[in-house]
């Protein structure tokens, strides 16, 4: 019996715009509208959407870094209140899109990975944990003393993954984890995420605009457009037999390679 880990109930988030583009006074932007999503332990869920779909807003709400306008986000039955749940940081972690900007350029790799351990008061030998987690992402211990600008894009993303996994979270959210990486490096990182989340029993939520990335890693997918879920279900089913027009447009828009003879 799968245990419910994260759940959103009629989740909505609306932003007030300072001035409408046409200058007509206060306008509202509905980033998320009555969203109902559930994520079970061990799930590998993909979230597909273009810019303006609301996926970024959803991620912030799932991380407890933002407050819903209405509705709620629940983690293992507990309603999230932004800023009032420091323990949530330990349970839900994130890997960001751009490894160049998600690592503090002035901190050494070991300090970067140490940060969540210190802030969350993790009760184990920090240095041992840093070494452990560096090894699990395929980086040598010598990396500890380097700075982000000395590393390649792929290596930086590995550090970002190591940082996210250091506090042993229950859920890992990966927001476009390979979009900023070179094509030849992408597969390695995806493989790493797949392996680690599987071996450690971590629930994975993968946000991406790239359907092949989603197909590679996720069993379930939800497709978002303009703040609502337009389609959801088993990944293979959704991609092979899309029911919603938008999903079909997304699939049709993917540039294809010339077929081999």
């Amino acid at each position: 019996m799968s245990q419910l880990v994260l759940e959103t109930k009629d989740l909505s988030r609306t932003y007030k715009l300072a001035k409408g583009a046409s200058g007509s006074g206060k306008a509202l932007r509905h980033a998320l509208i009555d969203l109902n999503i559930s994520v079970n332990a061990g799930d590998r869920l993909g979230i597909v959407g273009e810019s303006g779909s609301g996926k970024t807003t959803l991620v912030r709400l799932l991380l407890g870094l933002d407050t819903p306008t209405s509705g709620s986000v629940e983690f293992k039955g507990q309603t999230l209140v932004a800023g009032k749940m420091p323990w949530l940081r330990k349970e839900v972690q994130i890997v960001f899109q751009d490894p160049r900007s998600s690592l503090d350029p002035r901190m050494k790799i070991s300090e970067i990975i140490r940060e969540p351990l210190v802030c969350l008061g993790i009760n184990e030998d920090h240095d041992a944990r840093i070494n452990e987690v560096l090894q699990s992402v395929g980086l040598e211990q010598a990396m500890r003393e380097r700075y982000p600008h000395e590393l390649s894009g792929g290596q930086r993303q590995r550090v970002a993954i190591a940082r996210a996994l250091a506090p042993r979270p229950t859920v890992l959210i990966a927001d476009e984890p390979v979009s900023a990486l070179d094509v030849l490096v992408r597969d390695q990182i995806l493989e790493l995420i797949a392996e680690l989340t599987k071996n450690l029993g971590i629930t994975l939520i993968l946000v991406s605009h790239d359907l092949s990335v989603i197909a590679r890693l996720c069993d379930r997918v939800i497709v978002m457009k303009d703040g609502v879920v337009v389609e959801s279900g088993n990944t293979r089913q959704v991609f092979d037999n899309p029911t919603h027009a938008f999903t079909r447009a997304l699939i049709a828009a993917i540039p294809r390679l010339p077929q081999s003879l």
Partner: protein, 277 residues
């Protein structure tokens, strides 16, 4: 690391030399001066460059070189104190405004803009009117006036840092606001602060000279380069040396600190900028 920074960095090398000269004068002022700068000697009135007075003497026979040497004390004292006040107040204010919630930010930014409108001279006049002109009022005026500019630049830079992905990642790692300021904002502000500090120093030196010139700074008889300039005005065509020496001294200090600031910027920029693809 300092040696590496100096390599090929003309600004930093030239600036450092000039600043070192100034500090050498300062140290010298406590050890030895050719004459007591306050010693009056009617016989040497308006003496030109000679064996007795290397840089000449002023109207009442005081040795110019000695005045220049001792005058460095006031200049550097004011600069050091003003920089301390300006940076402490300005950086704190800048960071506080940057992390404040949107509701409070607007009025605070407004206040900084108003403060920016007050030139140091105006503040100095106000303070002098209340407390009487002195080195301290000059320091306070300059410090407060420049703090506003520092606050503005700091706020903008800090805002940029706070909006970055790695600060968001720190939040996601459970870091408190205080920790983010300490560990992420301050280190990344370092380059900007160093450059600002060198600018503030140059401004302070010039401001102190101006204030002394106007009679709003260090009162006589303590030697001050600015007042030496003021005093030399009426004798400009009789003995231009009286104006030239303090003028050169001021230029060396201000230019020196400015060049150091430029040199520091050169050091930090290439590290941060990488050429990809």
């Amino acid at each position: 690391m300092i040696r590496k920074a100096m390599k090929g960095n003309v600004s930093l090398i030239a600036g450092s030399i000039m600043v070192s000269i100034t500090f050498a004068l300062l140290i010298l002022s406590f050890i030895w001066t050719p004459y007591d700068p306050l010693a009056v000697n009617a016989d040497d009135s308006f003496a030109g460059i000679s064996m007795r007075h290397i840089l000449g003497a002023d109207k009442i026979g005081r040795d110019i070189l000695s005045q220049i040497i001792v005058g460095s004390r006031v200049t550097l004292f004011v600069a050091a104190l003003a920089v301390t006040i300006a940076m402490t107040l300005g950086v704190s204010a800048g960071i506080i405004i940057a992390i404040a919630s949107r509701k409070y930010q607007s009025p605070m930014i407004y206040a900084v803009n108003i403060a920016l409108a007050f030139p140091a001279a105006l503040l100095a006049i106000i303070l002098a009117a209340i407390y009487g002109a002195s080195t301290i009022t000059a320091v306070a005026a300059i410090g407060l006036a420049t703090a506003a500019a520092v606050a503005q630049v700091t706020r903008r830079t800090a805002h940029g840092i706070l909006a970055s992905d790695y600060v968001l990642a720190a939040h996601a790692s459970g870091a408190s606001t205080w920790r983010i300021i300490r560990k992420h904002v301050m280190p990344n502000l370092r380059a900007s602060l160093l450059i600002q500090a060198s600018a503030v120093v140059s401004v302070s030196v010039l401001a102190e000279s101006s204030l002394s010139y106007l009679g709003l700074g260090t009162p006589p008889p303590a030697p001050s380069w600015g007042r030496m300039l003021a005093g030399s005005q009426q004798y400009l065509f009789v003995n231009p040396l009286l104006a030239i020496w303090p003028g050169i001294a001021i230029v060396i200090v201000v230019l020196g600190f400015n060049l150091v600031g430029d040199g520091v910027r050169e050091v930090f920029d290439p590290t941060l900028r990488r050429i990809d693809s």
